[in-house]
Amino acid sequence: MAETAVTTTTPGRAGLFRRPRFRAGTPVAALVLGVAVGAALLVPMIAPLDQSAVALGRAALPPSLPHPGGTDDLGRDVLHRSIYGLRVSLLVGVVAALAATVIGGVVGSLAGLLGGWVDRVLMRVVDTISALPHLLLGIFIVAMLRPGLGAVILSIGLTHWLSTARIVRSELLSLRTRPFIDAAIAGGAGRTRVLTRHLLPHVLPKIALATTLMIPHAVWHETSLSFLGLGLPPHLASLGNMINDGQRSLLTGAWWASIVPGAVIVVVTLAIAALAARGRDHLDPRVRAELNL
């Protein structure tokens, strides 16, 4: 009796068992991401962009029907260039996220499979490296290799593998103690077979999810570097370069030149995060879905 009275009157209690109502609509997120990726893939075929073309006659026009994103101080269509920028950013993001996944996957597997002192040492190293300011480290890597596409990808890959390593390791550690692994070993399965047939299928979805969640991070890192002038070559339409260019126009009131490309990043990041959260729900229903950026 007293028990029930407490549970119904304590706000903290009542709220806990209610599922969070805020749900980023999965269909909306899928649609937004679909449109963005579709545009990034198709627009270059339909309306190719001349990266070096300028039209000073129509410089700094506010958003209008022919130029939905306005034009920048050199008369270039902001939306058109943003789509191209998204294309480059996604390309860098995907490749760099894969690179980070490979590094993190190898370190995590070594730690999780070998266990013991290898695990302890590797994880301590991971912990300590995560105490490094990774933007500064990324800047350092890019600066020493000279800014460019490869340097940016390497800079992301070398600074973003830590979370994947942790995920793979903890997954492997928990899998190792499950009865079905013991059963497989008792059934005479060798190391390779246990690894490829029993462990890998369980780890792969988690890795895929981690890689997906890594893409927005990678895009952010690339954009930050480009914004600082340390990323992709300045003439190339990339979201970070555009926001950087837009800084000039901002002072003359042409806010759209930097706000529009930034909005593209925000929308795509939100869409990927919402989808990944749903994917995590699907993979592990016990963990409450949170957008984890």
């Binding site: 190293v125 995560s130 300011p133 800047i139 350092f140 020493m144 000279r146 926001i243 930034g262």
Partner: protein, 321 residues
Amino acid sequence: MIRVVRRRLAVAVPVLFATSIGMFLLGAASPIDPAMQYAGAAAFSMSEENLQQIRDNWGVDDPLPVQYLRWLGNLVQGDLGWSTSRHQAVTEVIADRAGWTLLLIGITLAVVLTGSLLAGTLAAHRRGGLFDRGVRAAAYAVESMPVFWLALGAIAVFALALGWFPAGGLTGVRATSTSFPDVAHHLVLPVTVLAISQAPWFVLFVRDAVAESLREDHVLAARARGLAGRTVLFGHALRTALLPFLTLVGTHLPELVGGSVLVETVFSLPGLGAVSVQAALGGDFPLLAAITLVTTAVVLTANLLTDLAYTAADPRVRIDG
């Protein structure tokens, strides 16, 4: 406690070493010729002998291990080298600039902590309520906004359109010296932008932690004793959640440093951020390496201190290594 420190150092020092080796190798593999860097534009008119003279003086052509040990030896002795992009000793550059970066990060941290403890606790108080949902939606939205974009938006609205705050710099154009009100006025926008961009992680963490501790028995007992809701929420639930939160603040410092680099660049503040970017553009290895290593050491020390504070404050906690 001494054992904790020793164990931590046993990991941190080798990792710092490894980082310094990695950085040094990257610097050595870099296609940038330090002699040309040093000479700047004069390199084009300088004879090859003179350039070679500089290289000999610096020992650039020595074997890599020799160069590394020399660099490391100098670092340990407090000689961080000569900045080729600023034509100044690295120690001087850092001494001139670090204060402003620390000021920006320090104020921001204070603002973020106060704001997120308040907002997170209130959100946890009525989970699923209007305020909670509002805070969470805002946190997710802000979390997907690049800080430099947020900064440009803030400049567009509050500096250019409304004219409330200056768009950049640390002092007015006509100012000949730094005065407190002037600097404070200039810091409002950068601090706010950096604080807002860092807030989501903190707010969501506090919210979850407080919601969790609201379930605990001693909080329930406090409520059963008839204590006021506010006392239970802030005096018991928040207090329980506070300690683990404070240690996690240390792990979030690297993010804050990265954010401050970007914010400093947008608002043209004379901190270490802008200098790092300038050094990166100029391929200035000594300055960039020193800034990265010094920042890392500071962050590691801060982490260690928060952990020690935690063990001191909560006798139940023992940190293994």
